[in-house]
């Protein structure tokens, strides 16, 4: 349903280039027929619509450069993982997709980042409206100290979408695979849930408002292995309906759940981006191979 909007946009739309191929139901592109957008490292253009596209994106915190000339595009309804050592800028990149960096006084963004063909750093873009379409799940489960119900309803209420609230809350909890566990305790405080449940509640809260993209910042790093595997299953299911961008420090996790992988290395540069399988089995860059095999990072 985003296609019709795409075409109506202005002609400078870079994401529209080479994205007319029909999506592959299998989820894996049969042929790599991408057109190189920037000529550098977008070898991984798939036969899918590109929802997010960064072009020469630089982010600075004060005088420190956190991201260097990032150019990449993220396909729709797939899981894109970003891996790399800590401090490599992967979280910064994630946060620049829904302009959460705006909240940091010293952050400065250069370059372009397109969401459905619109540069979100244009002056006329409203970050609040943007974040309503690009949801976010954080590293540590951070439910509000309210009831489970109120947590999920929060986004709907602030957007004044209070019709059928009960129904929408139930749907969101079901999609987040939490409904069965909390069905009869919706009035209980969200803080009484276990860590894994809290994180799924945060996912339910994010998808309740029906965003297009869900950004996840190491969503399972604070959880035990069982809760982690539940979250991973959930992410794969979610990818059927949403575009998921996930930052993780766990390479096995990236290999398990993602379709695409971007490898960031120190200094905030994107070293390699492509299909997960090829990145892990046959990386182009020696540095990436070193990182993946644990020689560095």
């Amino acid at each position: 349903m985003t296609q019709n909007e795409m075409t109506s946009d202005d002609s400078t739309d870079p994401a529209a280039v080479g994205t007319t191929a029909t999506p592959d139901p299998s989820g894996e592109p049969l042929v790599d027929q991408s057109i190189e957008v920037d000529g550098t490292d977008s070898s991984a253009q798939a036969g899918r619509e590109q929802v997010i596209e960064a072009r020469d994106l630089n982010v600075f915190y004060g005088d420190v450069q956190a991201l260097q000339d990032i150019t990449m595009s993220i396909p729709e309804n797939q899981v894109t993982a970003m891996i790399g050592p800590s401090g490599c800028g992967k979280s910064t990149f994630l946060r620049s997709i829904n302009r959460m960096n705006d909240l940091i006084d010293t952050a400065r963004v250069d370059g372009e980042l397109y969401f459905e063909g619109k540069n979100i750093y244009d002056d006329d873009v409203d970050p609040v409206a943007l974040r309503r379409r690009i949801g976010m799940v954080f590293q540590h489960p951070n439910p509000f100290p309210k009831s489970i119900y109120d947590n999920v309803a929060y986004g709907l209420r602030i957007q004044d979408e209070t019709e059928n609230l009960d129904q929408k809350v139930e749907t969101a909890l079901k999609r987040a695979a939490l409904w069965d566990e909390v069905e009869d305790q919706l009035d209980k405080s969200a803080l009484d849930l276990s860590g894994g449940q809290q994180q799924r509640l945060c996912i339910a809260r994010a998808i309740a408002v029906d965003p297009d993209v869900i950004l996840m910042d190491e969503p399972a790093s604070a959880l035990d292995p069982i809760a982690t595997s539940k979250i991973e299953d959930l992410i794969e299911e979610l990818a059927e309906e949403f575009t998921v961008v996930i930052v993780t420090h766990n390479m096995q996790q990236a290999a398990r759940i993602s379709d695409k992988t971007a490898v960031f290395l120190t200094g905030g540069e994107l070293v390699e981006f492509g299909d997960t399988q090829s990145i892990f089995e046959n990386p182009e860059h020696q540095r990436v191979e070193d990182y993946i095999t644990g020689k560095f990072g």
Binding site: N98, L103, N142, P143, F144, G155, I158
Partner: protein, 565 residues
């Protein structure tokens, strides 16, 4: 311990000396810490002795109460402290809640006696609710009409509570009309909903009004709280029902006990309801149930003690603090002197202070914590504001008095020594304290909540309203109560704005000249008669300190609850 047992051979002879020096140093430091505490404690004991004069009682009287009240309570306290800390907390709260409740009851009783009739209270509450309803309804219906909202925000209270300005402000309208070249003709004042209610030809009886506007809302609040906690609507309804029935019983029993149905209803709403709700929670959680023994022992002990004392005909102490002291005005003869009008003055001043400082102080804190940029010209301005607030907190109180005198009395021309002037002068004094403590409370809200909210596409204001403020509220309340404690004892500003040295009649309005508790105490301190110096004065000091103690204890309870979560 950093200094492990030194090896004498290796260390040589001076090891013992260096240890001795360290010990002496530690003991000196401890003594210094205790110095202020002990000396003030001693002074307080002297004052309390002067105020209560326990030695004027028969020794049998003292012995009786020592056996029935003091010894059992002390034993319980030791037990809680040593063995059962949760029960200690329960004991603390169950004994404290009734005290706070009785104080609130007293405050409301004073308000109904001195300030407004029950009908006026009804009209005020109804119109305030109407104003709130108007604002909320407008927000719902037209969420995005900002200018309109501003108009509604300030207009609603005018329509419902204030009405258009009274005739004294006629010049405002006529001048405005003249400036605009319009002739309105005669200025007709539009009355507010509140005044309409006051003029209704038929109004329900007082007890029904009191039940509806004070007891019922509190009962419903308690009911909702219990229903949430027990997950049972029936429990909630039971609370509401019990409270209302309990209040209605007062129509018969109140007059029989000599406190009137009004006093009974207030006691039910402010004492019985909260105590009941708290005790129910304790029993349900089965945590620290033994703490309930403390208030029970206290009540039983007093009951048994009074029976024994009556039977044996033992005389109690001739205390300066008694019912007469709390309910009568000051007098030239020490035995008749009381603190009542000053207490009313203090209560009314506190109302002014809360209304004036709470919204502004919290608003400023929100701005500084949530909006203020750290860079650019605005950032510089904000830094200036922060430094300025820190400095204002250190400006001597007498200077605030001078400010109140110059601003409110000489420029605005409000009556000298009136309650508004006192409240605003002291309010300005505690404003920086309110701001700083509210800032701390807001800062302590985890950033992850804000991130989550912004990540959902909430605007800044939505995040503040729905996430930050509810979380910060207990902390803000604690800080505000502590600041009010400071305000209630401030004397120097009251002297500067000319608060009355001694008032025989309690004030009836906010523009009345009044004295406040500390001002009254200061007047007594210049009486030379020993009966004043060691009697009335001590009683006044103890009354003031008791009020402060209750306020601080309340603040500490709120803070402890809040920190645990």
């Amino acid at each position: 311990m950093a200094t492990t047992e030194p090896d004498a051979d290796w260390h040589g002879d001076d090891s013992s000396i260096s240890q001795l020096r360290g010990r002496a140093f530690e003991a000196t430091c401890l003594a210094a810490t205790a110095f202020g505490l002990v000396s003030v404690l001693l002074l307080l004991l002297f004052v309390a002795n002067d105020a209560f004069r326990p030695l004027s009682a028969d020794s049998g009287w003292l012995l009786t109460y020592a056996v029935t009240v003091v010894v059992p309570l002390a034993a319980l306290a030791v037990y809680y402290y040593r063995l059962d800390e949760p029960a200690g907390e329960v004991a603390y709260v169950t004994s404290g809640l009734p005290v706070v409740g009785v104080l609130l009851t007293g405050g409301f009783a004073v308000m109904f006696i001195e300030l407004l009739s029950i009908l006026e209270w009804f009209a005020l509450v109804t119109s305030l609710v109407a104003a709130g309803g108007l604002i909320v309804a407008h927000g719902r219906l037209r969420p995005n009409a900002a200018l309109e909202r501003l108009v509604v925000l300030f207009g609603a209270p005018i329509v419902t509570v204030l009405g258009t300005p009274p005739a004294q402000f006629n010049w405002l309208v006529t001048d405005l009309a003249a400036a605009l070249g319009v002739d309105f003709g005669l200025y007709h004042r539009v009355i507010s909903l509140r005044e309409v209610l006051l003029r209704l030809p038929y109004v329900p009886t007082n007890w029904l009004l009191l039940l509806g506007t004070l007891v019922a809302p509190l009962a419903v609040a308690g009911g909702v709280f219990v229903a949430r906690r027990c997950d049972s609507r029936r429990a909630g309804f039971a609370v509401v029902g019990a409270t209302l029935v309990g209040a209605l019983v007062g129509l018969v029993t109140g007059p029989a006990l000599g406190i009137g149905y009004g006093g009974w209803m207030l006691l039910v709403a402010f004492v019985a309801l909260p105590v009941g709700v708290y005790v129910e929670g304790v029993v349900r959680r089965r945590e620290g149930v033994r703490g309930l023994a403390f208030p029970v022992t206290a009540v039983l002990g007093v009951a048994v003690g009074s029976v024994v004392v009556d039977a044996a005909g033992l005389a109690g102490p001739d205390s300066w603090i008694d019912w007469g002291f709390l309910t009568s005005a000051t007098s030239r003869t020490a035995a008749d002197a009381g603190i009542y009008p000053a207490m009313v003055g203090s209560i009314m001043m506190i109302i002014v202070i809360v209304l004036a400082t709470f919204p502004v102080g919290v608003g400023a804190a929100i701005y500084l914590e949530e909006y203020a940029p750290s860079e650019g010209p605005m950032g510089k301005f904000v830094t200036l504001v922060e430094i300025n607030i820190g400095n204002l907190a250190g400006v001597p109180s007498v200077v605030y008095g001078l400010l109140g005198l110059a601003l409110f009395i000489r420029i605005v021309q409000w009556p000298q020594g009136s309650i508004v002037v006192a409240g605003l002068a002291v309010g300005l004094l505690i404003l920086p304290i309110v701001i700083i403590s509210a800032q701390e409370a807001i800062r302590s809200v985890p950033d992850s909540f804000r991130q989550a909210s912004y990540g959902m596409g909430a605007t800044r204001w939505q995040t503040i309203r729905q996430v930050v403020l509810p979380e910060a509220l207990p902390g803000i309340l604690t800080g505000t109560i502590l600041a009010l404690g400071r305000a209630i004892g401030e004397t120097a500003p009251l002297l500067m704005i000319g608060a009355a040295a001694s008032v025989r009649l309690a004030p009836n309005g906010f523009f009345d000249v009044a004295g406040m508790m500390p001002r009254q105490i200061y007047s007594w301190s210049s009486e030379l008669e020993p009966a004043f110096r060691h009697g009335v004065l001590a009683a006044g000091v103890i009354t003031l300190l008791a009020v402060l103690l209750v306020m601080n204890a309340t603040a500490i309870v709120i803070r402890n609850r809040y920190q645990r979560e």
